[in-house]
């Protein structure tokens, strides 16, 4: 299970206190933890994770193999990066949402056609954050 909450990844601010001698003056401050999940997942029950595939969003900072954090509860705004289903295709697509012109655009050095938001296009969530994998993510099928 990939728990969004509670968070297994708690990074202590300080190393383990020293066990002998003078008690660490920082001991009382040790319960402060940084949680990446709390930072990146604002609405746990509306959030899902996904892997990015392809090069159409590279100028927006999303590369092949990056992790997308998709929030389904957010209302898309102008130039938000969104996830959409297009004409009942099997896979979702990730594009920049031009709200004013009702168009989904790629953000890439390469040419990609615009997708106009007609009946078959359904915006399914906003990519609130993405995680750049400077080295490939290391996961094995459990």
């Amino acid at each position: 299970m990939i728990p969004l909450i509670p968070d297994p990844l708690k990074l202590p601010l300080l190393p383990e206190p020293i066990h002998a001698g003078f008690p660490s003056p920082a001991a009382d401050y040790l319960h402060e933890k940084l949680s990446l999940t709390n930072l990146l997942v604002t609405h746990p029950s509306a959030t899902f994770l996904a892997w990015a595939e392809g090069d159409s969003m590279e100028l927006a900072g999303i590369f092949d193999g990056d992790l997308l954090i998709v929030d389904r509860s957010l209302t898309p705004r102008q130039n938000d990066i969104v996830i959409a289903s297009v004409d009942c295709q099997k896979e979702f697509t990730c594009k920049v949402f031009d709200l004013k012109n009702q168009v989904l655009r790629a953000s890439s050095l390469y040419e990609y056609p615009d997708i106009s938001c007609t009946e078959g296009v359904l915006i399914e969530g906003v990519v609130a954050h993405s995680v750049r994998m400077h080295r490939p993510a290391n996961y094995a099928k459990s």
């Binding site: 990939i2 029950s45 996904a50 159409s56 009942c88 099997k90 896979e91 990730c94 359904l122």
Partner: protein, 415 residues
């Protein structure tokens, strides 16, 4: 007022959340080991598919309509269920999860319930991608009735509210078959029909003493709830658990005693874990193993084991179950076994027999440690004779990816 919210064709709908291409297609979800169909979506129902039919009987219809078949993906359903329950919980101060796709919500003091119902449906649809229905009522039984009405009557748009208006309640109950009332089983329905009770309203208006004398206190309370009284509270099970059953079919047939014993003991471990979670003790254990129902000559073996004392100790129970299975064993092509704990007592009020050997407390400590290690459906510690489940694990040939619970299976999104 209370509400019951349930998800529409939950397993089948869950399969389409991350597969937009399936949202208008007929979807079937099969049971453990892909034995028979357990959930259909609306499209599949309209094409004439039926629940609980074995796979091979459905095969021609599946081919004809290009229906999509999935094995049960409990990892996916469990995680989506949690999302739905969390979304619903934000609407009220108290809620009670009733099953994987149903939750009771306490709306005491709230106004404008119908509008809230539609807001809940919209929120779950947007955030989790699943359709729900809402039944409001002044008690749990009426909520259940309202939820069935919301399901069957299209113009409710998924929200039905049985309020304090007596006329409206009666109009609904008079058309509502008594057999569909919450907690009324098929045997009770047959007995009620002998008294001339066919509709929910007739049960509501029948003499309470007569109902109690013939059917017991639970049906009497049901009858009172149909009348608008509140009898079943929040966080109260309608019936106290009288037995705990764990039954599974095997991934492949078993002939020999030894693997049969070890697999049955792994089911016993699960049952005993539930027993301890309920704070109960067991005295009798029924075990059985059977061959396939679809292969001509159906055979089964069974035995009932009496334990020396009421206990919740897995080790003791496993020893007796192992012996009990050996006593009744005959060689067959077994595909399924079952463990059923009966004669349950609350461990809180249990009075031990004077002649019983005194409990040292060791067993209690050991079981607490085991339960803690295995918390959250993990299998970190188990009896040496129970297999770690690989060879006889469930067959799930058509299982979809674990979109929400496995890094390797997360949805891939075209960029």
């Amino acid at each position: 007022m209370f509400a019951l919210v349930d998800c529409v064709s939950f397993y089948a709908s869950s399969e389409a959340v991350f597969r937009p291409d399936l949202r208008n297609k007929p979807i079937l979800v099969m049971s453990n080991n892909d034995g028979c169909c357990v959930t259909l979506n609306e499209q599949a129902k309209n094409l004439g598919f039926q629940k609980f039919k074995p796979f091979f009987e459905l095969q021609p219809l599946i081919n004809q309509h290009q229906a999509v078949v999935f094995s049960s993906n409990y990892e996916l359903y469990g995680s989506l269920s949690k999302k739905v329950m969390d979304i619903l919980a934000t609407f009220v101060s108290d809620h009670e999860v009733y099953s994987i796709d149903e939750s009771w919500l306490d709306f005491s003091g709230h106004k404008d319930l119908r509008a809230t119902g539609h807001q809940m449906i919209a929120a779950v649809q947007q955030q989790a991608g699943l359709a729900t229905r809402v039944g409001f009522g002044s008690n749990k039984t009426l909520c259940k009735v309202a939820s069935v009405v919301a399901k069957k009557v299209k113009r409710t748009n998924g929200v039905c509210c049985i309020d304090d208006d007596n006329e409206q309640r009666k109009a609904i109950l008079t058309r509502f078959p008594v057999g569909e009332v919450w907690g009324v089983g098929s045997k009770t329905t047959a007995k009620l029909s002998q008294l001339g009770i066919y509709s929910a309203l007739e049960l509501a208006e029948y003499d309470k003493d007569a109902i109690r004398a013939q059917f017991g206190i639970t049906i009497e309370r049901t009858s009172r709830e149909l009348n608008g009284q509140k009898c079943f509270n929040f966080h109260e099970n309608i019936v106290e658990q009288h037995q705990i059953m764990v039954s599974r079919s095997f991934g492949k047939p078993i002939y020999d005693l030894q693997p049969l014993q070890s697999l049955t003991i792994s089911y016993l471990e699960k049952a005993m874990e539930k027993l301890r979670a309920n704070n109960q003790l067991v005295r009798h254990i029924a075990i059985s193993a059977s061959t396939s129902r679809f292969s001509g000559s159906y055979r089964s073996i069974h035995n009932v084991i009496t334990l020396p004392i009421h206990t919740n100790d897995t080790l003791t129970a496993a020893r007796f179950v192992s012996q009990g299975l050996e006593q009744c064993y005959q060689r067959h092509k077994f595909v399924r076994s079952m463990v059923c704990l009966t004669s349950l007592r609350s461990s809180q009020y249990y009075q031990p027999d004077l002649l019983e050997p005194e409990d040292s407390g060791k067993s209690k400590n050991l079981m607490e440690v085991i339960d803690a290690l295995n918390a959250g459906n993990q299998k970190n510690i188990y009896l040496a004779r129970a297999p770690k489940q690989t060879e006889w694990d469930m067959k799930r040939l058509f299982k979809s990816p674990e979109y929400t619970t496995d890094w390797a299976d997360l949805p891939r999104i075209k960029c």
